[in-house]
């Protein structure tokens, strides 16, 4: 599974990355978590509000930091 956290580097984006890593670890699934900070690349996903979470190329969360349980469900 390929997971990407989109965000230009504000506090919310960092906390989304943290929670996502934790969720992946707790679920014990094999997934790569990458942070995308380049604004041009972020815009390619058609996201207008950061932070956003992309799983296997699909935007599943945008504009907010969900709880760890929500992320686990999405995974």
């Amino acid at each position: 599974m390929e997971i990407k956290v989109l965000g230009t580097g504000c506090a919310k984006c960092k906390s989304l990355e943290e929670i996502t890593r934790k969720a992946v670890e707790e679920k014990g699934i094999d997934a790569s978590v990458d942070k995308v900070e380049d604004i041009m690349e972020i815009m390619n996903y058609g996201v207008m509000t950061t932070p956003a979470l992309v799983i296997d190329g699909k935007v599943v969360v945008k504009g907010k930091v969900p709880s760890i349980n929500e992320i686990k469900e999405l995974l």
Partner: protein
């Protein structure tokens, strides 16, 4: 999440909400009791008054900020950004689009990192540059921190004037900037996006998470905002409290009083290179006002401090050329100055 935990959330809110209201209502007597009865400070002493003032203001503002941030978080969670974009591009709005964009800038919590993606998103959706600017102007100017600080230190009337002034500024600034042909000064890659812009119709998917399950994360985010600016609030109020004691009465009046025509331009131009957030600047502004600076001049100063800053300029550099940043800043500076005169005339 199961039914039981939903019940717990409801219960917690039912307990917490009245508690906050009661605390807010009885805050002054409570702080009085704490400073003058529990601490060995007298009501007449300079330090007693300063500490009382400091504690009362800090706690009051924390409560206000928490409540307002949570409310704005609520609006935000349900605000359909994508729908707004479609609405702005497909409907004939006869100028109202500037109001919508500016108002939207006011209710989105200001996070500079979200401004730029939204800017691009608007451009991508084919929204005119002027309307996009209206959003970009108001977004840092009117935000939950500024509103909470104003409410706490100046009362609701000044807050209303500040917020509506900010929204008006975005509308007018956006409209004027939209009249110039500024597209050519965007960064090349943004121009490309603009050329390929298209109106998307059904990109949004409904989010079915029930309201009650949303609440905890909204409230948490509200609290996060408080935690993030808490230090600035404390420093700002402490500086304010000290200035109250040590800056002589009418100190600023000789430079910035109303009868000096250059007072507003001077205050605004001095403020542009300054960078502070609303949390730190409002308590200082309050002292200015207490020491004889007209409220309109003070509001103009504050708008220039929070609305225009070097860090923002460097962020904007990603989407526009320096020349456009210059035009953007220049226009806003000019309108803040004009708005300052209007405020002083009104108040």
């Amino acid at each position: 999440m199961n039914v039981k935990s939903q019940g717990t959330i409801v219960l917690q809110i039912l307990v917490a909400l009245p508690a906050i209201i009661i605390l807010y209502y009885y805050l002054q007597p409570l702080i009085n009791y704490f400073t003058y009865d529990l601490l060995p400070l007298s009501e007449e002493s300079h330090w007693g008054q300063a500490i009382n003032f400091f504690l009362y203001d800090t706690i009051k503002i924390i409560i206000l900020l928490f409540v307002i941030s949570s409310l704005m978080g609520l609006v935000n969670t349900y605000f359909p950004v994508e729908k707004l974009r479609v609405y702005l591009t497909t409907k004939k709005l006869y100028g109202l689009q500037y109001f919508f964009a500016s108002f939207f800038g006011a209710v989105t919590p200001f996070c500079s990192c979200s401004s730029i993606p939204l800017f691009i998103g608007f451009v991508q959706g084919g929204i005119p540059l002027g309307v996009t600017f209206a959003y970009l102007i108001t977004s840092p100017l009117v935000n939950e921190v500024a509103v909470a600080m104003f409410l706490g230190l100046f009362g609701w009337k000044a807050t209303l004037i500040y917020a509506s002034g900010g929204i008006l500024l975005g509308m007018i600034g956006g409209y004027i900037l939209g009249k110039f042909k500024l597209d050519r000064y965007l960064s090349d890659w943004v121009k490309q996006i603009k050329a390929n812009s298209q109106t998307e119709f059904n990109q949004f998917e409904a989010d079915n998470t029930p309201f009650i399950q949303r609440l905890p994360s909204i409230i948490n985010e509200g609290w996060d905002i408080v935690k993030k600016v808490l230090l600035y609030i404390i420093i700002g109020i402490a500086i304010g409290a000290l200035m109250h004691g040590f800056v002589p009465e009418d100190f600023f009046t000789q430079y910035l009083s109303e009868d000096k025509w250059y007072a507003i331009p001077l205050a605004v131009i001095l403020a542009v290179p300054l960078y502070a957030n609303a949390a730190g600047i409002v308590p200082v502004i309050q002292v200015f006002v207490a020491k004889g600076v007209p409220l309109g001049t003070a509001i103009a100063f504050m708008m220039a401090v929070v609305g225009l800053s070097l860090p923002e300029a460097t962020l904007l550099k990603k989407v526009m050329q320096w020349k456009l940043i210059g035009i953007f800043f220049g226009t806003i500076t000019l309108f803040i100055i004009l708005l300052g005169y209007v405020f002083n005339w009104l108040l």
